[in-house]
């Protein structure tokens, strides 16, 4: 049996699509638990912000962020080991680099801007995280676009609708929403 160039080209294209889909699903499987874990961190962090005076907020987030980054690294490494040499952990490492860059940008903004209004102080990291998720989603994992858009929408909505209980809003809607988003990604 002999096949035409068009048939061969279509078959190669089908192979590329299938392997790409396989890699994307594996990446979802690795990224979902990370998003769920950050959802828990948000619940704890924003929940603690609601209960502590604003001059202690940085000390609330420092250990949580460090723990979050350490667990993220561990999850990425674990996913990489499980996936073998052909692991698609590269997008996840890019995600970590983006997260570190965002943390650096937020720290710089806080340092340069001086004392910010409490709502803005709380909203800024969430908005930048939402933006990062959208960028990650556009690179490969489309579901992150929806999660990022939902985070941004929830952050803005709470800022204007519930300014007096914004920290609790971010803990409940932002944190639990991120956790559910992570679960949705993981189940892809």
């Amino acid at each position: 049996m002999v096949i035409s160039r068009e048939e061969a080209s279509a078959a190669l294209s089908a192979i590329d699509q299938t392997t790409g889909r396989s890699q994307t699903l594996r990446a979802y499987g690795a990224a979902g638990p990370i998003a769920m874990m950050w959802g828990v961190i948000w619940v704890l962090g924003y929940g603690a912000m609601a209960l502590t005076p604003d001059h202690r907020w940085a000390w609330v987030w420092l250990p949580l962020d460090l723990a979050g980054f350490a667990i993220t690294m561990w999850l990425v490494q674990r996913g990489r080991s499980a996936a073998g040499r052909s692991s698609c952990a590269a997008p996840l490492w890019k995600g970590i680099v983006v997260a570190i860059a965002i943390t650096a940008v937020i720290t710089a903004i806080y340092a340069m801007a001086g004392p910010l209004p409490a709502g803005l102080y709380m909203a800024l990291p969430a908005l930048l995280a939402g933006l990062a998720y959208i960028v990650m989603g556009l690179m490969r994992m489309t579901r992150f676009v929806w999660v990022g858009a939902a985070i941004i929408a929830a952050t803005v909505a709470g800022f204007f609708l519930f300014p007096s209980s914004y920290a609790l809003w971010m803990a409940a809607v932002g944190g639990i929403g991120l956790g559910l988003g992570g679960f949705w990604i993981w189940r892809a």
Binding site: R5, A8, A11, I15, T18, R21, S22, L25, A82
Partner: protein, 97 residues
């Protein structure tokens, strides 16, 4: 040369998925179904064909009380798939040149 057994559209997708996941261990039946877009019956039938040809290995066990079917590509399957992809590339290049 063309491997007619692999060239069937769904079997091509199955083999591509198994090849992509070859280092991650056996692929869950449900996951393979999602990746290939096949129905249960269709996938099962094509997997049997690939197993008989020695290209795929099917393992069935239980996780608690739930039955689990996992599929992996065999070394013979890897060789056949690589050969088939090579052939496809050759056809495209020869026709292009």
């Amino acid at each position: 040369m063309l491997d007619e057994l692999i060239h069937q559209p769904l079997r091509l997708k199955i083999m591509a998925a198994l090849w992509a996941e070859r280092e991650a261990g056996p692929l869950d039946f449900a996951r393979l179904k999602t990746i290939s877009g096949a129905t249960d019956g269709n996938l099962g039938s094509h997997l049997t064909t690939l197993e008989k040809a020695g290209y795929a290995e099917i393992a069935k066990d239980f996780v608690g009380k739930r039955p689990r079917t996992r599929v992996s590509i065999t070394p013979q399957g890897v060789r056949a798939f690589r050969g088939h992809v090579e052939y496809l590339r050759q056809v495209v290049e020869d026709a292009g040149g």
